[in-house]
Amino acid sequence: MALDFSSTPGTPDESAETRNVRLPAASPILEPGAPTDLELMHGIQAEDPEALSVLYDRYNGIIKALILRVIHNEAEADDLLQEIFMEIWNQARNFSAQKGKPLGWMVTLARRRAIDGLRKKQAYARAGERLQTETEQQPDAWVHNATEEEISFSDTRVLVRRVIDTLPVAQQQAINFAFFRGMSQREIAAKTNTPLGTVKTRLELGLKKIYDGLKELRDEL
C-alpha cells in the first residue's frame, strides 16, 4: 500500500546508470521526434483524437496505478480510467501551461475523481478494511515489497522514491492517507489513534522533506 514508497537501498533500481539523470516528477524520456506532453495537450484542445491516443499510451499505466492505489478494485479502476481520459478530452480547454505541466494537471484530476469515486460507490469502508488488514499484516509494506527486484523501475521513479524513502514510516503513512485516501487530518488521527497535532506535524515535516528533496534534485540537474 502507501505511496508505493517501496524502494530499498541497494536494489537494482539504484544502479549507477540511474544516478545522473533527469528531473524528478518529469515526463518520461521521449523517443526522438515524439510530441511533448504540452504538444499533445494542444492537440487535444484542437480535438485531435490521435493526440489523446498518444497521451493515453504514455500515461494510462501511471494514472491507473494512482486510481488503484485509491480504490483497490481492478474493474472500478478501469471504469474510472476511461472516465478520466474522457474528462481529459472534455476538459482540455481548462488546462493552462502557465499553471503547471500536463501530467500534474492529469494527476490532480485523476486523484480527485478516484477519491470521489471511492466515496460515491461507498467502497470507502470496504477499502478501509482492506487497507487496515494490509497495514496490520504488513506494517511496512511500502518499505519492502516482495516483487521489488522483479520490476524494472524508471529513472524518474527511482529518484522520486529515493526522496520519499528518506521519510520515517509514520510520515509516509500520514501522507499516504491524505493523498491517496483523501483523508483529513482528523480522519487520519482517528484512524491511526494519533493526536491531531502529531498528525499535522507528520504531514508538514514529511511534505516539506519531499518538496525540498524534489527541489534539490531539480536544482542539481
Binding site: 494510462n60 496505478a65 488503484l68 478501469d78 520490476i151 521513479r157
Partner: protein, 78 residues
C-alpha cells in the same frame, strides 16, 4: 502568518489536507502574499506528479483504449 507558515500550509493545501478552520487564514495569507504565494502553490502541485510517478504503472486492456477512442470519435461526429 509568516511565509514559512504559509509554505507549510500550502503543501497541506495541495493534497487537500488543510482542515476547514485553517482554510480561511490560508486563503487570506495567499491573497496577502500575492504572486509569490501563487508561484509557491503552483510549485507544490509538482508533488502530485511525484506521488504518481512513485507508483509502478498498472496494465490496462487494449479493449479499454478501444472503447475510449470509440467514444471520443463518436462525440466528434456532428
Amino acid at each position: 502568518m509568516s511565509f514559512d507558515e504559509f509554505q507549510n500550509q500550502a503543501r497541506l493545501y495541495v493534497i487537500g489536507a488543510l482542515e476547514p478552520e485553517e482554510l480561511e487564514a490560508f486563503e487570506q495569507a495567499r491573497k496577502d502574499f500575492g504572486q509569490k504565494a501563487e508561484d509557491f502553490v503552483g510549485e507544490c502541485y509538482s508533488m502530485h506528479e511525484a506521488f504518481a510517478l512513485s507508483l509502478r504503472p498498472a496494465k490496462s486492456s487494449d479493449a479499454l483504449k478501444d472503447r475510449l477512442m470509440s467514444m471520443v470519435r463518436n462525440r466528434q461526429k456532428p
